[in-house]
Symmetry: C4
């Protein structure tokens, strides 16, 4: 049997590549433990993302001529507005990433409030986001309806495919387009360390082997390669070198389309309208 | 001293190889935490197994001309019946894997109920399983008797050998044949990640090194190589490439017998009847 | 500055190598969680050590002509007596490893009872142990005095040196000789997995790199290389291949002395008597 | 866009390298669990740092002609005074590392007391420290003011940069200079194991790959490479070989300045006074 999952991407591309950054800054730490608000040592990992991670990644993206999508919680928009402006000035997409990065999947009302409050912060910074990514991929049953109600084009929180698909809501109406990700294409399982929850820190070659193997096969299948990074992790000196190497690897393949989440979702919506997916 | 553990496999094979898939789908997540029923983000990892994992693995097995055994919980049979039918249509074996993937080793009554309910779901899909694998290898003292009472030919839940052996029940009667496995031949310790219980995600080369080293030696000993995979893990793009590479490696050895669990158990039972094991 | 820690080993050897096996069998699992007595799945990992691990390791040691030391809890002596007899028949040393592998470092009375009960089990099997190793290296302040009271020559539970040294008891009298180990020279941190406490499973090359690097430098320093293995871990097919490779590596170095714990302790005691250490 | 973070180091150096050792000894274990005071097995890992780690590292540093900074808790100063004297005699810097290595970030008063008590222990050993490093990088909001009040020149506890920067206190006055570190440049996440909190133990090549990749890029950026080690970890035989290899790697780069924390902080303060940073 054959099970074809390929997408007829624009301009004959065989594979779409999204470079995405969850720009959580301090919220990565405070959302898990409120006491961290008073721990400058713990917070300093998050601050790195704003202080050095974002500008050094923007420098690298500019050198490489690559578009990216930054998912930013409302708190980070309010407290690192200069970094948000820097991202926008460089022409990248900014997506919605909740207000405070809390995991509220078990509390749909809190999740909706987080959604709306984050939306307001983005609006105050002049951003009308087209896409949303949930913190840590935790999603309540009500989130997709909330997104649809606020007119979001796409979600990028789920892991049940390697190509985009359209959500159908409980009432049968259209929900957002899903742009799926997976933990193995996230930098956090490999390189995020905290003394409260120690995890192994892997060298670049381990991450590159996994990312390259996923890319090779998704390219062969014709899907979406949705890389999930964090300025406080991939913004470290050695990890920027990792991303450069990964980009160079991808560029050895013909017919690859580097795009923002919005570009991918819009292209997919057009294919859907034409009945091609 | 010499300690010979070799099995005189059919047709002069030196080693039997079972490719097995625990097709848990969503139950892998709900069996550990009931709250996950309401968490689409968590469930999406499980759904991947049904949505893409099974069809892409069937495609690969078909290309390679390989038989496989899928152990399927009753819940998954009921909720992903089309995938079960697909597996059967491709000629693979379906084995019993409890009803809801719950770990009930400390509650023999619940375990028996899980067993019977799962059997009923399989029967409704036209499957009379010959073998059983316990979720996560957790087994109560009563399980083997339950299996014998229901006429199952083999169990594949224990780790105390590298060749099949016959269980003897408490009353001295014959129990099922054991087809042993081991955590190092399972994909989950290497490539299953959840934010609630983070584990390292290893690259293919690490898994291949371990699996190849085990294979080389089991082949030398003359035993059973029982690979335990999951459609939601090994069904990921990069991991299908891993399985292809592992199969190509095994095929460089002469006299290897790729077989389903039922075929291995039946061959062993025949050897036992002839007094050869 | 120079800090010389070398030991003038017998026959001009530069480095002593001890291959030791903690033959815990089922007690590795029951000592941490009493419920595991009723979980055949969990116990099956421990049973592997008795069923296959010990005989296959004895086969390998015999092929290589190597002496080894097996530290065995009293429970294992009583319940796997045939394996203990096998070990003795092959000429290896059997050391003391508590009765039930419980961690009783916080309860000196329980520790002493574990010690005495284990000693009785060993005596019943005809073994008068010369050395002791504490389960998981957990030791109470009273243990060394208990060992001295029972006339043990050496302990191998602590990690504060790479050469043997003499313990001095609280009252100023001589305690046992310490034969130190370290977690990085133990197989369990790299290759023991349980679903209750998941740890990464590493390939042979990772363990070999660490063990070789430790060996090279301890050889250069002139100390003791005390390798701590378990039949249920290093007795797995692939890990026996690992040990063979490690032995072959060590044998490329001249002037290495493979010895049991008792031989090392006796040699060190002789050097001490001569004032050479 | 370009984001220049380079520092015009003295004598045209492109990158400053600090080799630092947190000489915790037993306090690494007792600060997390008071019961460990009565567990000689657990303590023996810490004792290794004093008994062998420090002298063997001093031997290596002397062979290589390298300066280092040892951050030492007051308890360790009092209980391993001979090792502190040895370090001073070799000409290395001794910095402040609290009194008992407790994590008191949530209790500013306890933190200040730990600070003052540690300062007194260092004074009794003839040390007036210029720098401080917090245990595990845990810092309360009040710590920087405490440091300023006691006249410390630099802190090395935070992770929000790769170059030094000046702290500004709540009242607008000058705080200490920060010499940042990061978990990926610490030996503990890779090579510290305890049975109470098991972590993977990685081979030298993994650590070297990460450290080399960080060095290459920090060198390119022109920052500070602040390596955080522990005598009980990097003092192990194989890890001293790792450090030798890392030093040899760094020395293949021209214009690298190996310096103590105090030298780096003083150089940076001079650049600040000249308005060059």
């Amino acid at each position: 049997m054959k099970h074809d999952t390929s997408v007829p991407w624009p301009n004959g591309a065989r594979c779409a590549v999204m470079l995405t950054f969850d720009f959580d800054a301090e919220t990565l730490w405070t959302s898990r433990d409120e006491r961290n608000w008073n721990r400058p040592g713990v917070l300093s990992q998050g601050r790195y993302g704003a202080k050095l991670g974002v500008p050094k990644l923007l420098e690298m993206l500019s050198e490489e001529g690559l578009p990216a999508t930054f998912f930013v919680p409302g708190w980070t928009v309010e407290n690192h507005r200069d970094r948000v402006d820097m991202i926008l000035k460089e022409g990248h997409e900014i997506g919605h990433h909740s207000y405070s990065h809390k995991w509220v999947a078990d509390d749909p009302a809190a999740e909706a409030e987080e959604f709306e409050r984050g939306l307001a912060s983005l609006a105050a910074a002049g951003v009308a986001p087209k896409g949303f990514r949930s913190p840590a991929g935790e999603v309540s049953a009500g989130l997709l309806a909330t997104q649809a109600r606020h007119g979001l084009l796409y979600d990028s929180s789920l892991m049940d495919d390697v190509s985009p698909y359209r959500h159908v809501l409980a009432d049968g109406s259209k929900g957002p387009i899903e742009l799926p990700w997976h933990w193995s294409l996230d930098d956090a399982p490999f390189a995020l360390f905290s003394v409260a929850s120690p995890r192994p820190i892997f060298p670049n070659s381990n991450m590159l082997e996994i990312w390259k193997a996923e890319f090779r096969e998704i390219y062969r299948w014709g899907g979406l390669f949705d890389l999930v990074m964090h300025p406080q992790i991939t913004g470290r000196p050695s990890r920027i070198a990792l991303l450069r190497e990964m980009v160079a690897f991808i560029r050895t393949f013909p017919s690859v389309w580097f795009a923002t989440g919005a570009q991918v979702a819009e292209a997919w919506a057009a294919l859907e309208a034409e009945g091609k997916v």
